[in-house]
């Protein structure tokens, strides 16, 4: 397969910086060399850069890779008083970082805090405020259910909250890991509004079940693998096909935290990601890649 066709085929997919070890510039190079055109960025890519966060912004902007999104704002919603004010300040700084990168999506994951309320209307109100803060920057907020979230730990509840908040730049972030780990029914994907799914993160893992929150946390942070490498391939394919049938046309990023991958050379990990993306594009989604040198007329 020619490189250009391959790059076009995997264009909807991107890697996450969290999958790779090493300095930011090396990660960006490896991702780009594997044929990807987008990368999901994490706040500490910027904060941990030896030359400072603006040097990181420069490196990303000059890499030619598009930022799929920026992650992750944690434990934002459901707090009150000083805690709420503190989190608003954190959120504002993260929005500024997201804007500096030119990323249009910021990921916020559901709260795990015992200090936060479980009242879904209060959660929705806070997320609405977050979305308002994001409007002047042109940023959309994707709200994701962590499978060990306290009040919100399934995508169906996250969607309920998004609907309650009813704000055009607040949508759903869907992470296949959390869907599978929480053993959520996949049927409800058919009920989602595709234009309000702002980000889909894909990964699989190696065991059949994760029953406790502790198991889910440990697996999520150390043993995720690329789609096609785990034991839930069938469900993962179902998720992707359901999203496709729904009309989801946004990005897919590989949210793969894996202790082994962060001690392997970057090109080898990026190659695994490329194989996974090609499998999804060609065998699962059967996206038609245009033939090389084919004349295409605009309609």
């Amino acid at each position: 397969m020619q490189r250009r066709s391959m790059e076009q085929a995997i264009a909807p997919f991107g890697m996450d910086t969290i999958t790779l070890a090493g300095p930011l510039e090396a990660k960006l190079d490896a991702i780009q060399n594997a044929g990807f055109s987008q990368v999901m960025l994490k706040a500490n890519d910027l904060a941990g850069h030896p030359q400072g966060w603006q040097a990181a912004v420069k490196a990303i902007r000059s890499s030619g890779l598009r930022g799929t999104g920026f992650q992750v704002l944690r434990d934002f919603e459901g707090l009150s008083g000083h805690l709420h004010q503190y989190k608003v300040d954190i959120a504002k700084t993260m929005l500024e970082m997201c804007a500096a990168l030119g990323c249009e999506v910021m990921l916020a994951c559901s709260s795990t805090s015992t200090h936060a309320t479980a009242d879904l209307d209060a959660i929705a109100r806070d997320l609405r405020k977050l979305a308002m803060l994001a409007v002047p920057f042109g940023i959309r907020v994707a709200y994701e259910a962590l499978s060990w979230g306290r009040a919100v730990n399934e995508y169906t509840t996250a969607w309920d909250v998004v609907c309650r908040a009813d704000c055009p730049n607040l949508g759903l972030g869907l992470d296949s890991y959390h869907v599978l780990a929480a053993n959520s029914a996949l049927d409800a994907i058919d009920e989602l509004e595709p234009s309000r799914i702002f980000l889909v993160q894909l990964s699989d893992f190696m065991w059949q079940e994760t029953r406790t929150f502790e198991e889910r946390i440990a697996t999520a942070r150390t043993y995720r693998v690329f789609p096609g490498e785990g034991v839930h391939t069938q469900q993962l394919v179902e998720i992707v096909l359901k999203l496709d049938a729904l009309g989801y046309a946004g990005d897919y990023s590989f949210e793969v935290f894996n202790d082994d991958y962060v001690q392997l050379p970057l090109p080898m990990v990026a190659e695994r990601a490329r194989v996974s993306a090609l499998w999804l594009a060609e065998d699962v989604l059967r996206r038609a890649a245009p033939l090389p040198n084919q004349l295409r007329l605009r309609r």
């Binding site: 504002k92 609405r128 405020k129 977050l130 979305a131 308002m132 803060l133 409007v135 002047p136 042109g138 704000c167 055009p168 730049n169």
Partner: protein, 305 residues
């Protein structure tokens, strides 16, 4: 349509907006609009062609106040201000809109609570601290409550000697609205932003004013009906690619007689666009762009004289 529906508009006098729900901030119109520019004299010249007169200078900064009738325009050439908005070139930009509210502190806190983004302000000694939040494209939205018994200009500005501090409005010119250019697909984000924070409502698409009808039109509530104003949100055309810059593009001024106003402004040197797509008529008119960015639109409106 029944007689009842036809007659309903004249049955009672128009109610002024008084409920807290309809006007949560107790908005009462626009107190001033601010331009930032590196060329204050050139901009002043354009404003004078529209009928504005310079009336006061800021005590500590390179800032001039222009006025006609109830309209105030602040021209800010203070070097520190120039850096705060994204100036692509030397063209002036609309850098702030100051809203009149019943209580600035209350309004500010209400807006911050709902996701407004506070802007730090740095008043000098004896100057007012006017609270502000971030608006479109690096602009600011100020909240001003001192506009009745005495004005903010009494504190921060020194009158220019020998000029009328209250020059009359040329041809009944009054504030009508602001046009904001927005990124592709961003209409509903901004509709929600202004509704949530300021209580604006969307006007039906069939209802348009002037000669530039594109986009969505929002109406801001006001304590006195005459002080309502419009916000027009305009996305780039579909074929414009990634022309996504967001900014306050122009000021709309209401006049009872557009043709007479255009005539009066032409006498002062102002030029208007006369093309098939946009030209002076009874409904409205639009000036050519001065200094690369400064445009005024005239809209037929009886409004305030």
């Amino acid at each position: 349509m029944s007689d009842f529906l036809l007659a309903s508009q004249n049955r009672e006098p128009l109610q002024e907006s008084f409920s807290d729900d309809a006007n949560p901030l107790s908005l009462d119109g626009v107190e001033f609009i601010e331009y930032v520019t590196a060329a204050p004299q050139a901009l002043g010249h354009v404003l004078e062609m529209m009928g504005f007169r310079p009336v006061a200078r800021h005590r500590s900064r390179e800032v001039l106040l222009y006025r006609q009738g109830g309209l105030n325009i602040v021209v800010n050439a203070h070097p520190a201000a120039a850096g705060r908005a994204s100036l692509a070139d030397d063209s002036p930009i609309i850098s702030a809109v100051a809203l009149r509210v019943r209580n600035a502190r209350d309004a500010y806190h209400r807006v911050i609570d709902r996701g407004g983004w506070e802007v730090p302000t740095h008043p000098e000694a004896m100057e007012l601290n006017i609270p502000a939040i971030h608006g479109a494209g690096g602009s600011r939205i100020y909240f001003v409550d001192r506009y009745r018994e005495f004005s903010i200009y009494d504190v921060d500005f020194v009158p220019i000697p020998g000029v009328d501090p209250l020059p009359p409005a040329l041809q009944g010119v009054h504030f009508f609205g602001i046009v904001q250019y927005i990124g592709p697909g961003r209409t509903f984000d901004w509709v929600e932003f202004y509704r949530e924070l300021f209580g604006t409502e969307v006007i039906p698409d069939e209802q348009r004013f002037g000669i530039m009808p594109k986009g969505k039109l929002l109406r801001a509530p006001a304590l006195q009906a005459a002080n309502t104003f419009m916000l027009q949100l305009i996305e780039p055309p579909l074929d414009a690619g990634l022309m996504g810059r967001e900014y306050l593009q122009r000021i709309g001024l209401g006049v009872p007689d557009v043709l007479a106003a255009v005539e009066a402004m032409r006498t002062l040197g102002m030029e208007f666009v006369e093309m098939p797509a946009a030209h002076t008529e009874r409904r409205g008119a639009i000036t050519k762009a001065y200094l690369g960015s400064v445009v005024f639109e005239l809209v037929h409106s009886e409004g305030r004289a």
